[in-house]
């Protein structure tokens, strides 16, 4: 089983590190993984994205242009990636960042109000963990314990005290994600 996932949002939204945690989780799960970022000049702002592939087999191309799952955290990301989701695939979007939700009918659409939830939790920093929780709910590519292992690996030692808070955020994300559309596939 191979999951080709793209995560996309504003520069500061923790897109790349969310991808990294996901990839580490995959490793903990014993999978092959690849993580391929968009990269550019350093200026802040603008949109960043990362392609994460998790697979039971060696990964051939780390670069793809159709995705099983797209996680989009702002409007430009949705505009860029909506059309690149495979029919029958899924899109997850954040309700705060996106005003015009996805329109495609042949994909599963999930909404997660992660930003609002983060504000509620009084902690901007967990925004991307909430999203990750949502993603893991939709596509359980790794078990929670392995995700926590991956998180541990990808955080410097000095931040390990934050692990419980992150776990809570992930769990919260799993709870609050809601399906808005179920893919209608016309096989003809």
């Amino acid at each position: 089983m191979t999951h080709e996932i793209v995560i996309s949002g504003f520069g500061g939204q923790g897109v790349l590190s969310m991808g990294k945690i996901l990839a580490y989780s995959g490793i903990m799960e014993g999978k092959e993984v690849s993580w391929f970022p968009s990269y550019g000049p350093e200026q802040r702002g603008g949109t960043a994205n990362v392609t994460v592939i998790l697979s039971d087999k060696p990964i051939s191309s780390p670069i793809v242009d159709k995705y099983d799952i797209a996680v989009v955290l702002n409007q430009p990301s949705l505009e860029k990636f909506e059309e690149k989701v495979k029919p029958g695939g899924s899109i997850i979007y954040d309700g705060y960042g996106i005003h015009n939700p996805p329109k495609r009918k042949d994909i599963n659409v999930y909404k997660i109000d992660a930003m609002d939830e983060a504000v509620k939790m009084n902690n901007d920093k967990v925004f991307n963990m909430i999203v990750l929780g949502g993603l893991l709910k939709v596509a359980p590519v790794a078990q929670l314990e392995n995700v926590m292992e991956g998180l541990k690996k990808s955080l410097p030692e000095r931040y390990h005290n934050l692990l419980p808070m992150n776990k809570e955020a992930i769990l919260r994300g799993m709870e609050i994600i809601r399906q808005e559309n179920k893919a209608e596939i016309n096989e003809n």
């Binding site: 504003f10 702002g45 702002n74 409007q75 960042g97």
Partner: protein, 76 residues
């Protein structure tokens, strides 16, 4: 006595919410939108206390993104 009043127009979509104009304003006129963001995702600036504005243009000079048009008028 003649009174000087000012006003500042913000080009919201150019504004990156850098806060420099807010810090530079001697009259506490400006503030970043706490929640609203523009299309680029920035909390742009708005006139919290427009009546305080003297049109001194400090904000305009230091805005890196040339978002601000400053008006100033003497009232009799």
């Amino acid at each position: 006595m003649a009174k000087i009043k000012g006003y500042v127009e913000v080009d919201i979509e150019r504004c990156k919410g850098c806060d420099l104009c807010v810090a530079a304003c001697p009259e506490d006129v400006l503030e970043l939108q706490p929640r609203e963001v523009n299309n680029k995702g920035y909390h742009y600036v708005y006139l919290k206390n427009p009546d305080n504005c003297t049109g001194c243009a400090n904000c305009g000079y230091i805005c890196p993104d040339a978002c601000l048009t400053v008006y100033r008028k003497k009232f009799a």
